[in-house]
Symmetry: C2
Subunit: 358 residues, 2 copies
């Protein structure tokens, strides 16, 4: 097994990606080709004990930075994310992981690997924490304008992901909407509903925003605009709630008293607090998709995982693990087969009423 | 001042609305006409001390239930929400509040009062808690399909609301989007951007989901689909987080230990916990818009507030207060003047590319 890694991608590249690759190669016993500038990768590798590990360097002379425009992907043919994606196309790697500019990684994957035949648009999917465990939300940002057919295909891909990676036999699928009832939703959602009903997937109808953390469905399907608002709001709200609690406490006289008492109270409850810290950290991390091994670019004709730009070593390691699992469980091949059986072939014409500018 | 109340609207009508009206009439010294079936309202009023209060009963023989279809508004001319809205049109009330079926209240307001001249679509707006305080989000559910012109008008209405009701001199306005940069967004957002820039409003660009609880802008403008997902996800996430924390603690050995220790820890920290309770309750309540006096139906040619179906007595009282403030500060009249000065008159033609089915 060979999972290529973009050694130049992410806010703290190349140090963090290289360290993540070393851990992944050791833990999972796989080969992790490191794509990027040989001299800087070599310098990073020298900081680790890499005896017995398979970490070949694949040279790439250029880099697409986090601050670059997506167009840089076309201009810099020898950028690490282009070189890495080409390894997958040529069969020289089984999958590719990058923590670089997410839009650019998507573009590099599309240009160099291409779509699965029949798939209209790749989607970015992410694991989202719920009360009972987690669900998979897609699209979280790849397609801001969608047609009903896209949503149908997202549902198929999300369903296959949850079945293959999480071992759920028939994952439940819901459409994100502004009401539970079937007549609720924007035109896109209402027109996608009959397609999903006829799809053979385990479609259970609409999910409201509040139903997502409740865990109403295993797969939440939405357009990339609403999906992006959903995951970013969740990240922001978790952080904000902590600060709002402190502000609220400061606001009232009773609250101020509580804050004063909180100091001795905290000391008294210190063992509990200390022991709770790992759990609290887990909660915050559950809302950062890096911890889940990144966002999954589904619909591309090869396994590609887009890790968070802020990924730490553990997140890179997780992203490599998830990409490896995707290869082992043949997520791409299953999507390739599944899309052939999907209804909705007549939709591309009717869908022309939708703006299609990507 | 006369704020009419739908005595038959809400999950716990007529008891809760009538109790809320009694409190509001006493606290604010205003007249609160109660619209609905006289005998049931009379029976509820008898449970309160109403001496010196002005709570006239306005008979309405029909009711639109929470479970009814919106069409019931057209069919039942003598429904309490229709009668209440007509009081505003005829000048027999200064404003109208209902905790009934929100879609039906909007329909009743439109049929009986109508739109402010020049306003394309009324929007539902709600106050949303942020780290520094709060912002106003609209549309949160009235229009699932929008045009750039609608968003421009929502921005105007939200801006006037925050200026008049919260006393902010030049409220900052942002468009909810999937990225901060100006080229990010779906087509709707990107085409609304030049309109907002030219509007004379204090437009600061795009806000991502995470920026909303941060308090990046005073007014967050979005379509009714994404806005609805945003507020419902927020409600759901606040509740889910508490449960997720407990689940996380139960999951690990360390967590289980922490839970065990939490009992003596909690007893030791009891004064703090007890004193924090009001603050914690305030936080949860901040995420239920009923606590803010309901959602504001802006763009209708008279003050209308849609309270949450689950409103308690305090929420009804707040909704009446906010409706009264809207009358005093002439939100409707200011919108009427403001819309005349808005640019974008050429947009209705170009906007025809958008689906417009409402």
């Amino acid at each position: 097994m060979r999972i290529a890694l973009d050694a130049m991608g992410g806010d703290r590249a190349p140090a963090v990606p290289v360290a993540g690759a070393v851990q992944a190669a050791r833990l999972y016993g796989i080969e992790v080709p490191l794509v990027g500038r040989p001299e800087v990768i070599q310098a990073e590798l020298a900081k680790h004990d890499t005896r017995g590990l398979s970490l070949p360097i694949v040279p790439a002379s250029q880099v697409v930075e986090m601050t670059d425009h997506v167009d840089a992907v076309r201009a810099r043919k020898d950028a690490s994310m282009n070189v890495g994606a080409r390894l997958v196309r040529r069969g020289e790697a089984d999958g590719f992981v990058s923590a670089g500019h997410s839009g650019a990684v998507m573009a590099a994957a599309l240009f160099n690997i291409g779509r699965i035949p029949g798939i209209k648009r790749p989607a970015l999917g992410t694991v989202y924490p719920t009360i009972p465990g987690h669900c998979f939300v897609l699209d979280v940002g790849a397609n801001t304008e969608c047609t009903p057919l896209y949503l149908l295909q997202f549902a198929l891909m999300g369903s296959i992901f949850m079945e293959k990676i999480y071992g759920l036999p028939r994952p439940t699928v819901a459409l994100l909407s502004n009401g539970e009832e079937e007549d609720k939703g924007n035109l896109l959602v209402r027109q996608a509903t009959p397609l999903l009903k006829a799809s053979g997937l385990n479609f259970i109808g609409n999910a409201e925003g509040k139903d997502v953390p409740k865990g109403l469905a295993d797969v939440i399907v939405t357009d990339g605009f609403s999906g992006n608002v959903l995951i970013k709001l969740s990240e922001g709200l978790v952080v904000a709630l902590g600060l709002i609690i402190v502000n609220e406490l400061k606001a009232g006289v009773v609250g101020k008293l509580a804050l004063l008492l909180a100091v001795p109270g905290a000391i008294l409850a210190l063992p509990t607090l200390l022991l709770s810290l790992p759990a609290l950290r887990r909660i915050v991390r559950r809302f950062y998709y890096a911890e889940f091994g990144g966002a999954h670019l589904l619909g591309v004709n090869g396994p590609v995982v887009v890790a968070h730009g802020r990924s730490n070593v553990k997140a890179i390691q997780n992203a490599i693990r998830v990409c490896k699992e995707s290869v082992e469980r043949d997520v791409v091949g299953t999507i390739r087969e599944g899309v052939k059986d999907l209804p909705g072939g007549e939709w591309p014409q009717r869908a022309s009423q939708y703006v299609d500018h990507i």
